[in-house]
Amino acid sequence: MTFNIVVTGIGGQGVLTVAEVIAQAALAAGHDVKTAELHGLSLRFGPLECHVRFGKKVLSPLVPAGRADLIFALERLESLRALEFAGKKTTVLFDTRAAVPTLMSIKKQKYPSEKETENTINKFSKKGIHVPATKAVKKAGLDPIMANIYLLGRAVAEGVLPLKKEHLLKGLEIVVPPKALETNKKVFELGMANK
């Protein structure tokens, strides 16, 4: 069976980084892996969606609609956008942080509340797990850019990502620059511990 993950957020949040950590971890664990990224225009504060699939033999690099096992969202509204990939077996792990799209502000639209987000997620998936990742990283006095790694730790602790901690740490070592590695490991542990 192929395990399907859709990592989402907005450009600049480290969507590609955390997706690569997961992909490298899956490779280290001996799986076949495929990822699909987007570059260029989408990086400019637009929605960013990255697919990671691993298992014995992965076919398409894209997660088929409705077939995600895990939606890993770094932003609330983007967790809703990713519900295109949600079905009966999908867990939606999302950072409760909100980044209001400029267009919504200009059009004076109301950004969905935490409660509304959760209700919609529960309607379209197996379950939603809300995690105040950005808040927690800030509270620890660290750069909120690492909320992605915090959420990764939480995914392991929640048992919604079938990869071992040692492999994810190996993934971090490959992807994160050496001088930022220790802090990232710390944030990962923090995410695991705060369940």
Partner: protein
């Protein structure tokens, strides 16, 4: 990748690596003994050039960013003409720019292998002008074309393309799409070959005036026939046996989506995978379709293969039903669109699940972006004029609330279009053009304006880098792709040399100064240029972070704010928001999200109530 002195990871001698298609092409070229590479950045092809730039010195090869795709192609062609294996890469629109030089190269041929890595963008993820299908160019120009499906094939086919190109002395196209270039899988690294980096140009066959040209054309057809004979026998096109009278013919990533769709529906249909789509292996296709009732063609953008299959079927299997993907629209293939089609053909049940409607989030100029500052100053100083647009990050000026890109056509088109508008109307114009775009194809437009007496203002957005595609250097940057210092070209000096009489330079983050310059220049006759200087804020922020410097942020003093809404509804910085009732925003709150404020101060300058202060 690596900032220190460690080896570039792609230069490891062996092992298995998770590689994006674009990285795998670079590795394939290294395993094929490449000596020379060139490119002009453009998504989804940019990382091919970026990677060559990172490792060229270490690998002992040469790489450069060309001023545009045509020049990049010409330099790579010259290397191959002189006996050095070369690769040129660009996005589909790059082919259009380079095509004037590309087509003759099929006739002239090459001495060493030459590969053209050409990346289409089905779904227009990073292309705002057209959803171009580049496969037809292979046919127009008589170029062999490979279509890899994933990173493994990107590497293998790059090597095969070099071999074939050198054997038949013709450039070979490696046709990529977004989901090939930007998808990764584990790739086994094989032995790299130290290629020739120096060659010798000798005057022999590089002049083809008629009647010799017509003979060469005939010879070229003969070459393609030989390549076709090779392709008909090669494993590059392969059949997977299956059950039933419905078959699939697939190329590129469509092949993997088709396999996925079959897996989803529990089907095992026969599949013909085409790795080489030009010259078309017609015998292979004829053999495959002979016993079938229906064929589904999995291809992206235009139904090109589907039409070929229909034509071939007329002689070998006239009753064959040929279907392409589910919708007639030119969009990218996905596993679910393939599954929908297959389900209908086989009588299986499949529905794409329902999803909620979510408010749009179009990409925006970053907080603190110099382009937003320039746009705002120009719009307020010269309201109601035609704001001409061009290609770069500043294309994002098309969105609300700035709306300073009335049209976007192609690289460097802005001055030609505004000039034409000036000639047939009384409407005043401003042409916005980025500095990389100015060098790429904007200079002739400026010369034309001066020569043909345009009464028009050009605003050059000078951030000294090619920002949109990942901050590649250009002729004003002062360094080359391989990091060597070079003379930074001065756009004001060029404009002056082109005959522009008034050229002004402003720091675009100074709103009043920029507004005054726009007003002054709009009042003058003739062709004028304003060079609006401002560093890409992404680079500024990265530098600050690296140096451990804190950039001061701004906040709205709610005691002073009168709720006019200019900062949100007219300026549109992604860090500034409004929370409150939608119809009476005097009762709501405007606020700056501190995480997103990159401290440019422009909002504080334009706030009519002077309510925006440094955050304490």
């Amino acid at each position: 990748m690596c900032e220190n002195n460690c080896m570039h990871p792609l230069l490891q001698s062996s092992g298995k690596m998770l590689l994006l298609g674009n990285y795998a092409i670079v590795r394939g070229a290294l395993e094929a003994g490449i000596g020379f590479a060139s490119s002009y950045p453009g998504t989804p092809a940019s990382e091919i050039g970026d990677t060559f730039a990172q490792l060229a010195k270490e690998a002992g090869i040469y790489f450069e960013w060309g001023v545009n795709e045509k020049i990049a192609f010409e330099t790579a062609a010259a290397a191959a003409m002189s006996g050095v294996r070369s690769l040129v890469s660009f996005k589909h629109f790059g082919w259009n720019v380079a095509s004037d030089s590309i087509y003759p190269m099929a006739y002239l041929g090459v001495k060493a292998g030459m590969v053209i890595a050409l990346a289409d963008d089905p779904g227009c993820w990073s292309s705002g002008q057209s959803e171009q299908d580049s496969r037809l160019f292979a046919r127009v120009g008589h170029f062999p074309m490979f279509e890899p499906a994933d990173a493994i094939e990107c590497k293998d086919m790059t090597k095969k393309a070099f071999e074939l190109s050198e054997k038949f002395q013709v450039p070979v196209i490696l046709r990529l799409t977004t989901r090939v270039s930007h998808t990764s899988c584990p790739v086994k690294l094989e032995k790299m070959i130290k290629g020739k980096t120096t060659g010798q140009f000798s005057v022999d066959r590089w002049r083809t005036m008629p009647p010799r040209l017509l003979e060469v054309h005939e010879e070229l057809h003969g070459k393609l026939e030989k390549i076709n004979a090779w392709a008909e026998k090669s494993k590059i096109n392969s059949v997977t046996k299956g059950k039933g009278k419905i078959g699939i013919i697939a190329s590129g990533v469509g092949y993997l989506h088709a396999l996925e769709a079959m897996d989803m529906l529990g089907l095992k249909l026969p599949v013909l995978k085409l790795g080489m789509t030009w010259p078309l292996p017609e015998k292979t296709i004829a053999k495959f379709i002979r016993g079938l009732k229906t064929v589904l063609v999995a291809e992206e953008i235009e139904p090109i293969l589907a039409k070929d299959v229909e034509r071939i079927a007329k002689t070998v299997n006239p009753k064959l039903v040929v279907r392409d993907r589910d919708s007639a629209c030119s969009c990218e293939l996905k596993p679910c669109s393939m599954a929908m089609r297959l389900a209908k053909l086989t009588g299986k049940k499949y529905n794409v699940p329902r999803a909620p409607a979510v408010p749009e989030r179009p990409p925006v100029l970053c907080p603190g972006c110099p382009h937003r500052a320039t746009f705002w100053a120009a719009k307020t100083a010269a309201p109601g004029v035609v704001y001409g647009g061009d290609i770069g990050c500043y294309i994002l000026g098309i969105y609300q609330p700035l709306e300073t890109q009335a049209f976007v056509i192609s690289m460097g088109a802005v001055q030609g279009i505004t000039h034409g508008i000036r000639k047939v109307s009384k409407q005043p114009t401003i042409s916005f053009i980025g500095d990389s775009t100015f060098f790429h194809a904007g200079m002739p437009g400026l010369v034309n304006m001066v020569w043909n007496k345009s009464d028009s203002l050009v605003i050059t957005l000078k951030n000294t880098i090619t920002a949109m595609t990942g901050h590649q250097p250009h002729p004003a940057s002062g360094f080359t792709a391989m990091g060597d210092q070079s003379k930074p070209l001065s756009i004001p000096d060029i404009a002056t040399a082109c005959g522009v009489e008034t050229v002004k330079i402003v720091n675009c983050f100074n709103v009043a100064q920029t507004q005054a310059a726009v007003r002054e220049l709009m009042a003058k006759p003739g062709t004028k240029m304003l060079v609006a200087e401002g560093e890409c804020r992404l680079l500024f922020m990265r530098r600050a972070r690296k140096e451990g410097r804190k950039v001061p942020t701004w906040q709205i003093d709610h005691k002073i704010c009168n709720g006019c809404g200019v900062c949100v509804f007219e300026f549109g910085c992604p860090a500034i928001h409004y929370a409150g009732p939608p119809n009476d925003w005097k009762k709501g709150t405007f606020y700056i999200e501190q995480d997103f404020c990159w401290g440019c101060s422009v909002c504080s300058q334009l706030c009519p109530a002077k309510a925006i202060k440094v955050h304490k």
